[in-house]
Amino acid sequence: MSDNKVNRVLIVGGGTAGWMTAAALSKRLNGLDVKIELVESEAIGTVGVGEATLPHIRHFNAGLGIDEADFIRETGATFKLAIEFCNWGRIGDSYFHPFGDYGQPGSAIDFHHLWSSFAPDDVAGALAAYSVPIQMARKDRFAVPSADQDSLLSTYAYAYQFDAGRYARYLRTYCEARGVTRTEGRIQQVAQDPQTGHIQSVTLEDGRSLSADFFIDCSGFRGLLIEQTLQAGYESWSHWLPCDRAIALPSATTDKLPPYTRATALEAGWAWRIPLQHRFGNGHVYASDFMDDTRAETLLREQLHGEALAEPNRLRFLAGKRKQQWVGNCVSIGLASGFLEPLESTSIHLIQVGLAYLLDLFPTGDWPGADSAAFNKVMALEYERVRDFLILHYKATERDDSAFWNYCRTMPVPDSLEERIRLFRERGLVSIYEKGVFLAPSWVSVFIGQGLRPQRTDPRCRAYTADQARAGMRALQSDIARLTDSLPDHHDAIRQLSRAHLATGAA
């Protein structure tokens, strides 16, 4: 007999956060006496364009038992191997941040040390030649990575680019088939226990009351429960990430279907381009202190390759996070817990991370405080590490063509990031951490992509003469080029997956 006191969970808000939460809970808590209900209002809009992700999303979907081909078909997804960053270091520059490592697998010395020691200094893109996912991305190729750890095809991972609205609907179908109750309605009031302050129920506009033991706030920026009711507080990071507006605008597809997202730095922010099967997702993230909305929309429209398919969706936000993401009997997930601009596709990942920790700490109903303290501590670390990675893109610029970029180039940054920059600049090292989504190859991509070069490298590079190293690197470059030339076209890879899916008769 269970003595667990959390038998009813209410998720406030739909969208990606809400339905990912419902899906994860319905899967993990299957077999428990826990009723899951999600309340959302169709009157409340969502961002509604493409969503780029990180490779971890595949594990999330796999954990739910979702068939990949089915998912790709239902969400209009494409594969994603990297993000291309244009004009971030200098105008005219371009580099890729791939999902994968550089060089040969299993080497004792990180490849960028060898490259920094022996490759020509003037070839900014040269490091990219030693990355399988970057070469695949540039050639619009795609193949599933190999499990053979000695193969070059094992040196990368992949993620997806998909329609967030479709994904949410896809997960809704998944959830409702597993007993999650969806309630349509807009919350008007929140009732709290007068002694503990815990949330007892929410009341909808039509007068219905929904009560629960545990509440998960997926209501977006406003944080209906975590902030408006429980006043968790918000820690602003806008002095490091000054962008506070976004315009989103879908556009028609073109004949090319790149397996990567593009982030193009503009005058006072940056524009995203996310290719889906049925359209492109576009957006412009910008700082209102440095640019007005009209100019922002103009710049966004200049970035479109195909015709716009809708009127722009406009958003305001404040970079930062809730001071506490779990208060009492309420946890915030997604935009309700904090906001970091989607420069490195971290929004869905932070939802996933929050859910993983929440499930590890799923409450028993005693509310001892240790659970929420542990959750808040670890989520703060995850957010801070993503934050630092994003700030790096802005700080490590040589651009001086606008007041915005002058601000970014000269702003002080968190000590944690200052140390990371110093460590790389002096010694080509990436600080080692256990928690935090971005591993060393990611940091190397941005450091080198935006022009930082280490003053000194791993001394073990001296085991090679310059001729030996360059010969080895030329051979590797050639192998990667030949290998990636042989891979299927991205578009064909998607079609093939769909055909295989249909052939198996999978639902």
Partner: protein
């Protein structure tokens, strides 16, 4: 272009730590290694015995040693875990096993499964489901198997080592590799205006220039960069050796007695004994009473803590020069292995190496702090009633320890700080061995069907009880290894 590589690297110290570092760097740096020399500066030979975590085994393999042969050939032994008696004044004996204990059921950890079935009462029952516990209590040993279908795949073991014999073996092996060494009664340093060591002054007016110096001498830890850690009223360590009697246990023995934490490391021909006790206690009489014989002991201040900046300019403290973690943490050797790994990751060139030093100091600071945390965990969770033990419970633990205790007591979960030296599995085993009982179990364990769960646990227990049938006694196992060495 990088600065010139190190041409010379000097390791100071007379014990096993310096030689382990020398072997590690010799192997890992390969053709770009500097000239490495060990200066055996007279001093402390090291503890009476070394008791390691399993991580030491793989690490030694990685630098070219067969760890089991090394232990067997130097009068050492193997270690399947640690036993505890006297955790409470009235409580049960306990065992902390290495390796797997049971098996997770999806996301539900094994101890949560036991808790769900009411099988964690007392919590010391947990260890009984581990193969290492069964082997240890029967005085037997078998190694892990690289077959995921076998119950032996989850076995792990550490080492009991004779520090002096280990040093001698490493020194001999080092000589065969051409690692230079010399003895000196003392060493002095000449530094330039930037604080870099430019020359070492040795006996008889001899000097040695060195691009980089690694100091492992215990006496090096006596300046303002030392951050002490309280052990309550336990401020003294007494060490001795006793002749071996009876069978050779494959585990470290911890006895929490009236006024001391006594630790016994069984070696081939003797036991290394270390006792953590208050200086108000007559250690000589006390240990003589416990062991029923006269003991000849050395006594030193406990001095737990670490150096906050072990690496400055071209001078790096490692081992006894950089940290003092109470023996009861069982982190002998493995902290040094981590320090070596970190050093390799940031290995310097000649010239300034401030960034490397900052990163190394950060990482090793965190690692040592978690090892100190583990010692504190053991001290604050015992429930003995004597005054000295109450003082230990009154130690203010770090946020990491307090958070771990709060979370584990509440629901049997842990979320530890990064670079946790002992790892979550050992923390869980330790908490249960010390009698910490979660108030509630993971609610997700309730989804597991009870009959099937009981059957699964019974099957695990059956495999655990059957496996030792093909094991050897610990002595016999070591004899066989020594026989292989001789042939």
């Amino acid at each position: 272009m990088s600065p010139a590589p190190l041409r010379s690297l000097t390791i100071l110290g007379s014990g096993h730590e310096g030689w382990l570092i020398a072997h590690f760097l010799h192997r890992k740096l390969g053709p770009v290694r500097p000239e490495i020399a060990v200066i055996e500066v007279e001093g402390d030979d090291g503890p009476a015995g070394l008791s390691t975590l399993p991580g030491a085994v793989e690490w030694l393999s990685g630098i070219g040693f067969n760890p089991v042969q090394l232990a067997a050939g130097t009068g050492g032994a193997l270690k399947l875990g640690e036993s505890f008696t006297g955790v409470s004044t009235t409580g049960a004996d306990a065992f902390l096993p290495f390796g797997n204990v049971g098996a997770a059921a999806g996301p539900v950890q094994f101890h949560q499964q036991l808790a769900r079935l009411g099988l964690l009462n007392p919590p010391q029952n947990y260890a009984g489901h581990a193969l290492s516990t069964r082997l240890a209590k029967a005085g037997r040993f078998m190694g892990p198997l690289d077959d995921p279908r076998s119950i032996r795949a989850g076995l792990a073991f550490g080492l009991h080592l004779d520090a002096r014999a280990l040093r001698d073996a490493l020194k001999q092996a080092g000589a065969r590799l051409g690692i230079a060494h010399q003895a000196s009664q003392s060493v002095g340093f000449e530094r330039d205006d930037d604080g870099r060591v430019t020359r070492l002054q040795l006996d008889d007016g001899l000097t040695r220039e060195s691009d980089f110096i690694i100091d492992t001498r215990a006496e090096a830890r006596t300046d303002k960069r030392w951050r002490p850690t309280s052990l309550g009223a336990f401020d003294r360590v007494a060490e001795t050796s006793l002749p071996r009697s009876g069978d050779l246990p494959p585990f470290t023995i911890n006895r929490l007695a009236g006024d001391a934490w006594v630790r016994q490391i069984p070696l081939k021909n003797r036991s290394g004994i270390s006792a953590l006790l208050p200086s108000s206690l007559d250690a000589q009489s006390y240990l003589s009473d416990i062991f029923g014989c006269d003991v000849d002991l050395t006594s030193t201040p406990a001095l737990a803590g670490r150096c906050t900046q072990p690496w400055m300019t071209n001078y790096l403290r490692m081992g006894a020069a950089a940290w003092r973690v109470p023996a009861l943490a069982g982190a002998d050797v493995t902290l040094l292995t981590k320090a070596c790994d970190r050093l390799l990751q940031v290995f310097p060139h000649s010239g300034p190496s401030e960034a490397e030093a900052i990163e190394y100091n950060r990482l090793m600071g965190q690692e040592v702090d978690t090892a100190l945390d583990f010692a504190h965990l053991l001290l604050v969770t015992q429930t003995r009633t004597e005054a000295v033990w109450q003082s230990a419970r009154a130690i203010t633990p770090s946020g990491n320890v307090q958070g771990a205790l709060d979370l584990f007591r509440s629901r049997g979960r842990l979320m530890l700080d990064e670079f946790c030296h002992h790892g979550e599995d050992i923390w869980i085993a330790a908490l249960l061995a010390m009698g910490v009982v979660p108030a509630r179990h993971d609610p997700q364990a309730d989804a597991l069907e009870e009959t099937a769960l009981r059957a699964r646990i019974a099957r695990i227990d059956e495999l655990v009880s059957q496996a030792p049938a093909t094991s050897l006694s610990h002595d016999h196992y070591l004899d066989r290894v020594r026989g292989e060495l001789a042939s």
